[in-house]
Symmetry: C2
C-alpha cells in the first residue's frame, strides 16, 4: 500500500507520542517533530507507511537516546496476554470449529497495536475479547473473511511462514500455531519477527517469552521496519518467504508493506485506521482475513 | 493560550483538509504539506495556534490560488442557520429565562466550526440543537458557566464588543444580541469579524447576510488570523477593544488568542479539541461561559 497524504499528520502524531513514551522532555519532543518535518519533503509517497514509520522511530531513538522506548509496554502486553493463554486455549478446546476460533482470536489479538491506538488499555481490550461468549469476533465485523480459502490452502501447506506483528499479540499467534500443529504435526512453521525494536512490534525475545518457540522456529525478518519491507529483509528471511507454501501475515504493518506482493499471502488484521479501511474497502474496526492472489 | 506540541499534527491535518476544500490535486496538497513542514521549525510555541493557523491558510491560498476556499461552505452555513432563525427566536420567546436561552443557543451555535470538525454536517448539527426541548445545552455539559457574572456585567455595560467566530454561527450571535438589545435598547453593540477569508470564519459579508448589522455595528478586526491576535488588529478595532465595558468572545480561536488578555473578557465556546479542553480543565464537548479576569 502506498502512503496516503492522510498518513502525514499521523506520522507527526506517532513521532510525538513515541518521543513521549521514550521519556523525552518538551525540547526533545519538538526536535523530533522538527527533524521529521525536515525529512518529509524527500519521502516518496510510493513507499509504504511503515517505511516512513522506520524513519520516525529511528529519529526518536537517535534524539532521545532510548533504544527501545516501548520495552515496558511490550513486557506488560506479553504478561497480560500470557495471563489469558489458558482461557484462550479453553475457548479453542470448547469450540465446534477449533481452527476458526483460533483464527478469530489471532485477529482479535491484533488490537494490541501501539502504532495506531496510542493510549491503549491492553488489559481492558483482552477482557473484552474474553467476554465474547461463543465467537471472538462478531459476524458483522467480518468485512472480508475467506476462512474457506484459508483452510483449504492450510491443509495442503507443508511449510508455513507466519509474520508476527506485535508483542502480546504473539500469545494469540501461538494459540493459532498450536492449533495448526495439532491438526498436522508434520508442518514446518516459521514465525518471523522484527530485527530491532520499533514501536511495540514483536522481537525474538517477545516470541520466546510468549512461548511460541515451542511450536515454531522463530526467525528475524532482518529489518527494523514496522512491517515487512522485502528490500530490507535478510537473505534467510527471503529464502523462507519464497520457499513457504503459505504465508500468514498479521496486522496492518505487514499488510501495508506486502499488499502489492507477487505471491499468495493470507492477511489477518483488524482495520484500525481510516486510511487502511478505505484502501481495503471496509470500515474502521472491521476484521479481515484476506487472501491476496490465488497463487 | 500557547501552542502545544499536540497542535502540530493537527496543523498538518488542517492544511491537508483545506487544500482539498480549495480543490487542490494531490500534487498541490503535497506541496502545501511540504511548505508547512518547512516553516514548522521557525514557529514559536509561545505563539497561539491561530497564529500558525494564519500561516497554514495563507499558504493554502497561495499554493492553490484559491482566495476563499470555504466560501460555499460559509454560504451554506449562513443559509441553514438563517432557516432556523425563527425557531431560535421562538425558543427564546417561550423561555422563562430568555437571556439564558439566548446565551446557550449562542454557544451551541459554536459547533459550526470547520477548523476543528472537518467533516461537519451543519444541517444535522442545527437539527440537534433544535431537538433539545427546554434547554439548548444539557446541564452536565456546562463545565464552566458563569451566567450570573455574565448577567451582572452585561447589566452595567454601555458598550459591548462582541467577537464573532464562524459563518452560520453569526445567526446565533444575532439572536443573543437582539435579546441584549431588547433588554436595553441604549447599549452600543459592536460585532467584530475577520478582515480576510480564513477557514469558515465570519467576514463582514456573512455578518450582513445573517442580518446582524440591523442590531449591531459590524467592524473588521483588521486581521486575517482565525482568532484575535491583538498585534495584528487595526487601530479602530483596538480602540473599541479598550473602550468597551464588556467583551463577549465567541469560539476557540478567539479564546486561544485572548486567554492571556489583560482585560475582562467573557469567553463563550464549545471545547471541541482535546488540547483546549485540557488547557481549560474540562472535557471535549463541554460548553464554556468563562469570565476571564474580574476587571
Amino acid at each position: 500500500m502506498k502512503t496516503y497524504l492522510d498518513c502525514i499528520p499521523c506520522f507527526f502524531k506517532q513521532a510525538l507520542e513515541s518521543a513521549r513514551i521514550a521519556g523525552a522532555g518538551e525540547k526533545k519532543q519538538r526536535e523530533v517533530l522538527n527533524e521529521l518535518a525536515g525529512s518529509l519533503p524527500e519521502f516518496s509517497l510510493t513507499s509504504s507507511p511503515p517505511e516512513m514509520g522506520r524513519v520516525v522511530y529511528g529519529l526518536v531513538k537517535r534524539i532521545t537516546g532510548e533504544d527501545d522506548p516501548y520495552r515496558e509496554i511490550k513486557e506488560k502486553s506479553n504478561r497480560l496476554a500470557l495471563n489469558i493463554y489458558d482461557s484462550l486455549k479453553k475457548r479453542v478446546n470448547s469450540s465446534r470449529d477449533r481452527l476458526l476460533m483460533a483464527v478469530e482470536l489471532a485477529i482479535a489479538g491484533n488490537i494490541i497495536d501501539y502504532g495506531v491506538k496510542r493510549s491503549l488499555d491492553v488489559g481492558a481490550e483482552l477482557a473484552k475479547i474474553l467476554a465474547e461468549e461463543n465467537k471472538a469476533i462478531k459476524e458483522e465485523k467480518k468485512a472480508i473473511f475467506d476462512y474457506a480459502g484459508f483452510k483449504s490452502v492450510l491443509k495442503k501447506a507443508k511449510t508455513i511462514l507466519y509474520l508476527g506483528d506485535n508483542a502480546g499479540e504473539v500469545v494469540f499467534d501461538r494459540v493459532l500455531i498450536e492449533e495448526i500443529r495439532r491438526i498436522d504435526g508434520d508442518k514446518e512453521i516459521v514465525y518471523a519477527v522484527r530485527d530491532k525494536p520499533v514501536i511495540n512490534d514483536v522481537l525474538i525475545e517477545d516470541a520466546c517469552v510468549c512461548g511460541i518457540d515451542r511450536s515454531a522456529k522463530v526467525i528475524s525478518s532482518g529489518s527494523d521496519a514496522p512491517g515487512t519491507v522485502l528490500s530490507l529483509c535478510s537473505k534467510e528471511f527471503l529464502r523462507m518467504y519464497k520457499r513457504a507454501d503459505m504465508v500468514i501475515s498479521k496486522g496492518q504493518g505487514n499488510f501495508e508493506t506486502l499488499s502489492g506482493a507477487k505471491r499468495q499471502i493470507f492477511f489477518l488484521l483488524m482495520a484500525k485506521c481510516p486510511v487502511i479501511a478505505k484502501d481495503i474497502g471496509c470500515n474502521v474496526g472491521d476484521v479481515i482475513l484476506l487472501r491476496h492472489r490465488e497463487l
